[in-house]
């Protein structure tokens, strides 16, 4: 089919439902079948201007598991950007050394900027508070795998919905699957109005609230996020909301939940999810992190055009 060959992966908005399902199905195949040399002689440039553990390591691991090679850096302090080099110049030079670029950068729109100036495909691994499309693919993959379907689910998004880029992207993607959404956050961390307006334009039933009380029984999935200290300019504002939610086995069961509720989290967590949850059937966040490998293998193979 080749529908992803040489395609930039910048934003989940650029994909339709068939695209999303294509990658999920490919990831299922990747998980079931060992393919060790699909990307032999291909080079991935892994450019992380902002810290990352899961995304960077799972991309690098996925590339290596498919027989490819990885070059790159994990912090901007060791690059020529400290000498004042622009992002455009940096990626124009690096494209000569690789077949594909994975980029994380603190500025929103940086991945699109890179994609505009290079001819190799660019995968956005997070651009500030904007998009993180491969996380969305693996979130969808995890939901489908653990719930058996993506269609018609009721999803609660909990925590930092203002700056949480994974929430914005996942909510958009789930709009293709007739999801009903509850946005649970303190007032200062509500979903940006442009996101909720866009969802309403797409006929999504969405509700905003500041507590799980009264809605927990309706939820098939809770997508919990960390309140990100690094996104707050004012530490006082951060202190007002830190620790405001703490999910534990007891709090969930006392609130009343469906037996087959699944709790996802893009990780890292701080104190929003108690360790008592880890060994329950609700918790799928470690599995979710592991799903980064088949999803990123699928995306790399599809974009590099080695798989139909």
């Amino acid at each position: 089919m080749g529908r992803f060959k040489q395609r930039d992966i910048i934003s989940i908005r650029r994909f339709n439902k068939e695209d999303l399902l294509y990658i999920l199905d490919l990831a299922t195949q990747m998980e079931q079948k060992e393919c060790t040399d699909l990307l032999k002689e291909k080079v991935l440039a892994s450019l992380f201007f902002e810290p990352s553990t899961r995304t960077r390591l799972s991309f690098e691991s996925a590339m290596k598991r498919l027989g490819g090679t990885v070059i790159g850096f994990a912090e901007s302090g060791i690059t020529s950007t400290v000498k004042g080099e622009s992002l455009s110049d940096a990626v124009k030079i690096i494209e000569g050394y690789c077949d594909i670029i994975v980029l994380r950068h603190y500025m929103e729109g940086s991945a699109q900027l890179a994609a505009d100036v290079v001819s190799v495909p660019v995968i956005n691994a997070g651009d500030g508070a904007n998009q993180h499309p491969t996380q969305t693919f693996l979130d969808l993959y995890t939901i489908r795998k653990t719930k058996g379907t993506l269609e018609g689910l009721t999803i609660g998004f909990l925590g930092d919905l203002k700056y949480g880029r994974t929430v914005h992207s996942l909510a958009y993607a789930l709009s293709y699957f007739s999801a009903e959404m509850y946005f649970i956050s303190p007032p200062s961390l509500r979903m940006p109005s442009d996101c909720t307006e866009e969802l309403k334009d797409r006929k999504v039933k969405c509700h905003e609230t500041d507590s799980l009380m009264g809605i927990s029984k309706k939820l098939d999935v809770i997508y919990c996020t960390r309140i990100q200290k690094e996104r707050f300019a004012d530490p006082v504002e951060f202190e007002k909301v830190r620790g405001i939610y703490r999910l534990s086995k007891t709090t969930l069961e006392e609130a009343g939940i469906k037996d087959n509720l699944k709790v996802l989290h893009p990780l890292p967590r701080v104190d929003e999810m108690d360790e008592s949850l880890d060994n329950t059937d609700y918790a799928v966040y470690f599995q979710q992190a592991r799903n980064g490998i088949p999803i990123r293998k699928a995306i790399l193979a599809a974009v590099l055009g080695v798989i139909e």
Partner: protein, 150 residues
């Protein structure tokens, strides 16, 4: 209002059917304070379609595409008349283009186009009436109240 007829300047441009409240914004776009030839600005003139309209006449100037695109964002009903030797040689309604480059600033201070001065801003027009723009880089959606012209 015979004396405001569009053919009343010898050569130049007449921007008519401006929403009256937007007249001075259009005047700003056209940078009229630096014009040396005749400039006439009319506001609150009666109009069949708009109720009240504005009109601007600038002698010796043919307005360019960038100015027309900017005017379209501020005064979407405006018409432009190009005058040569007292005759209207070209008349057209302004049109919001599908892509707006280099004339509107992205309102997101964290956008790469706001941070780097060498990046030309680029916005996709996702709705023309009411105007809705989406930044090519950070994907934020802007309404008319968010528009800041460069």
């Amino acid at each position: 209002m015979k004396h405001l007829d569009v053919s009343a300047i010898k050569d130049g441009s007449v921007i008519d059917h401006i929403d009256s409240k937007s007249t001075l914004k259009v005047a700003d776009i056209l940078n009229i304070q630096n014009e040396e030839q005749v400039v006439l600005v009319g506001m609150n003139l009666s109009s069949k379609f708009l109720g009240k309209k504005g009109i601007i006449k600038i002698g010796g100037k043919t307005i360019d595409k960038k100015e027309v695109d900017k005017i379209a964002l501020i005064a979407p009903n405006a018409t432009v008349n190009i005058i040569k030797d007292y005759e209207v040689v070209k008349k057209f309604k302004v049109m919001v283009p599908d892509i707006i480059e280099g004339i509107v600033k992205c309102f997101n201070p964290n956008c790469v186009s706001s941070q780097y001065q060498n990046i030309i801003s680029k916005l996709h027009v996702i709705n023309k009436n009411p105007i809705k723009l989406q930044c090519h880089y950070c994907e934020r959606i802007m309404n008319s109240k968010d528009i800041v012209l460069i």
